[in-house]
């Protein structure tokens, strides 16, 4: 393998990895606060993609307002889901909420099939992201979107860390994560903090979905399933509940997926299997993930 070829693969890996990282952050944040794996997270990506599609295609909104609209509507969807399907089950066993999350995932997918139709649609792209829009650095070709995604991911990561670590709401979120009951006794409105957590998670899903569709401009009602699963793996790999871990996990997954095809082209068709093998290996060796917290179980 020549050095140029290696760098081309590396560029592809960073591009894919940062996208995984972006989506994994949302997964891990909701889990960190609520200990709930929100399986509908992947489907929120799809909701955001369709909002942008219709905003641009039917209402002819420019790119930025449609992205804004998508973030707002997806956030609203996330909050409604929390209110309708998770909050009533707050005191039930954790597996009940998990099943409810899977149900919501199916609901969103089937509703989307009925409302949007099952055929894939072409996602509208601005000129600077369309076919052939790439930068040439030496022999290495880098798609323009590849520059945008890591910037968005890192920016959102910092915003999120700031909110969680530095603001009063963030402090309340951390308190809720430690102990519901005590947090409530300290005068924190647990319901409100959980709603805030969900809206942050859904907004992240919206941005992730839009970035995903810009990189792979084909949207369909089931488009959220695979990224949902992959980013769940990334989040668990990095240590679910840990925001920085999700970013690391996303990058590792992206690099592994690309490098498997690069170095072992004969097994290129089985790269998804490798992603799951990594997950299992990680769970066996370090159940808390790469930089996950020590099992801080609630008492």
């Amino acid at each position: 393998m020549t050095i140029n070829l290696f760098f081309q693969h590396l560029a592809n890996a960073i591009s894919l990895g940062s996208l995984y990282a972006l989506i994994a952050i949302g997964y891990t944040m909701v889990y960190g606060i609520l200990r709930l794996i929100n399986f509908a997270h992947g489907d929120l990506l799809m909701v955001a993609a369709y909002v942008v599609f219709y905003a641009q295609g039917i209402f002819h909104l420019p790119l930025l307002p449609s992205v804004g609209l998508a973030v707002v509507l997806t956030t609203a969807t996330g909050v409604i889901i929390e209110r309708a399907a998770y909050r009533p089950l707050r005191n039930s066993p954790r597996s009940t909420i998990l099943i409810s999350a899977i149900g919501i995932s199916f609901l969103l997918e089937n509703l989307a099939i009925v409302v949007f139709g099952g055929r894939p649609k072409s996602f509208p792209l601005p000129q600077w992201l369309d076919i052939g829009s790439a930068a040439q650095i030496g022999q290495v070709t880098i798609e323009n979107i590849t520059f945008a995604i890591p910037v968005v991911t890192v920016t959102l990561l910092y915003v999120l860390l700031y909110i969680v670590q530095k603001t009063k709401t963030g402090m309340a979120m951390r308190a809720v994560a430690k102990d519901f009951e005590t947090a409530r006794l300290m005068g924190i409105s647990v319901d409100r903090i959980i709603a805030v957590t969900f809206s942050l998670g859904s907004a992240l899903a919206a941005v992730g979905g839009i970035m995903w569709s810009m990189k792979f401009p084909q949207i369909n009602p089931l488009m959220g399933m695979m990224p949902g699963l992959k980013c769940f793996i990334a989040a668990v790999f990095g240590g679910i509940g840990n925001i920085a871990g999700a970013v690391v996990g996303g990058f590792v997954l992206g690099v592994v997926e690309i490098m498997i095809v690069a170095f072992l082209p004969d097994v290129s068709g089985y790269r998804d299997a490798f992603a799951f093998v990594i997950l299992i290996a990680m769970l066996l060796v370090r159940p808390t993930g790469l930089i996950g917290e020590k099992a801080a179980e609630k008492v």
């Binding site: 693969h9 695979m226 997926e257 690069a262």
Partner: protein
């Protein structure tokens, strides 16, 4: 508390509704059965096609053709023919469930479907066990009808299709080397890729003419790793059988990575969505398919083209034409056997000979496959342009 319960109830209801609608959207409602069954006054034919999922465009195009045929020829033996559609959601296990439902609940006497060889193979196992005949419109993998005396098809099969494209690559494009990128989970893509490789190696006389074979999975959207590998090998052609959406995304990424080798594929690329998603990147993409409006002139095909244009206000495609033919072949079998009985229909289908369909003359060979010509189409200015017809060889 009350609002909470209410909300949960609403969500649950919506969920149930959505799943029900999701399964049977667009399906004609089955007639309510009277308490004492009178002698059957209608003949039920089941259809299972991917109306949603990654092959939705193919299933929907096929269904348009079947529905049109039913509209033009609504009766046989003085009885009304009723179609029952099930959506297999481009999912193998769902395909098997659909066929079971059609046979056990809807009591159909024959089945049409499905777009996608993997789906037909899954459904075919049920047809075989329950001994109900099925006619495939466009599943081209040989395994669909192999060892299954109840499965027939009105299209050619992949050994032929692979040869057609290999011949095109070698004689028209003067290709000496090629690479293959295929969806390893799709029986159609894997089979077609193998036949292409065989023929390409034979025609070039070079056992290493296929430089490498790369794979991907259903649902993968990132092909940059495979394509970077391809770019380093500099092949003359890239053969990439797969569904229209994923292939279009792949070709976009190839063009962005400045790979200019021509892309060749199979009949699954024939969908308007291929060009919607691929835009100018898929210009020049060339593939074999079953039928083109430009290549036909028989009586029945003229009638079909005219009726299709008035019904759907657009030009017909190969899948609609095959759906139309599959329906007519079953109708013909019911007519010759004189009764709507699955065993009799199976017998009659086996003897189908010289049937004049829209897509050509259909004769079932000993493997229950139709031996027919292929056409080659190419994307030009955002349209499928007819290049040539290739007779069976």
């Amino acid at each position: 508390m009350r609002t909470r319960r209410f909300l949960t109830l609403v969500v649950l209801l919506a969920f149930v509704l959505a799943s029900v609608l999701g399964c049977t959207s667009e399906a004609p409602k089955p007639e309510a059965k009277p308490a004492t069954p009178p002698p059957p006054s209608e003949i039920k034919i089941g259809v299972y096609e991917p109306m949603t999922g990654s092959s939705a465009a193919g299933g929907q195009m096929t269904w348009e053709g079947i529905r049109l045929a039913n509209k033009l020829y609504p009766e046989v033996l003085g009885q009304k023919v009723v179609l029952n559609l099930e959506d297999n959601k481009t999912d193998k296990s769902e395909a098997a469930n659909c066929v079971t439902r059609l046979i056990d609940q809807k009591k159909v006497v024959a089945i049409i479907g499905s777009y996608g060889s993997s789906l037909s193979i899954a459904g075919g196992q049920i047809c075989k066990t329950k001994q109900i005949p099925a006619v495939g419109c466009s599943p081209t993998n040989p395994l669909v009808t192999k060892d299954n005396p109840y499965y027939f098809r009105v299209c050619f099969i992949d050994p032929f299709q692979g040869k057609v494209m290999a011949k095109y690559a070698v004689s028209n494009l003067k290709a000496k080397t090629g690479v293959i990128i295929k969806n390893v989970q799709d029986d159609y893509a894997v089979g077609l890729a193998n036949y292409f490789k065989e023929a390409f190696v034979a025609l070039t006389g070079n056992s290493k003419a296929i430089l490498t074979e790369l794979g991907y999975n259903t649902g993968d959207q990132d092909f940059t790793a495979q394509l970077t590998k391809v770019a380093s090998l500099k092949p003359d052609v890239i053969f990439a059988p797969g569904n229209y959406g994923d292939s279009a995304i792949m070709i976009r990424q190839a063009r962005t990575l400045k790979i200019n080798a021509p892309f060749l594929g199979g009949d699954t690329w024939e969908a308007p969505d291929f060009m919607d998603i691929g835009k100018q990147a898929v210009e020049g993409a060339t593939f074999s398919t079953h039928y083109s409006v430009a290549a036909t002139g028989t009586e029945v095909s003229k009638k079909f083209v005219e009726a299709y244009k008035t019904e759907y206000k657009k030009d017909p495609n190969a899948f609609a034409a095959l759906g139309f033919d599959a329906y007519l072949v079953i109708l013909e079998a019911i007519k010759t056997s004189g009764k709507a009985d699955p065993a009799a229909i199976t017998q009659a289908l086996t003897k189908t000979k010289g049937f004049k369909g829209v897509t050509g003359t259909i004769t079932m060979d000993e493997n229950r496959d139709a031996n027919k010509s292929a056409v080659i189409l190419q994307v030009k200015n955002g349209k499928f342009e007819y290049l040539t017809t290739v007779e069976p060889f």
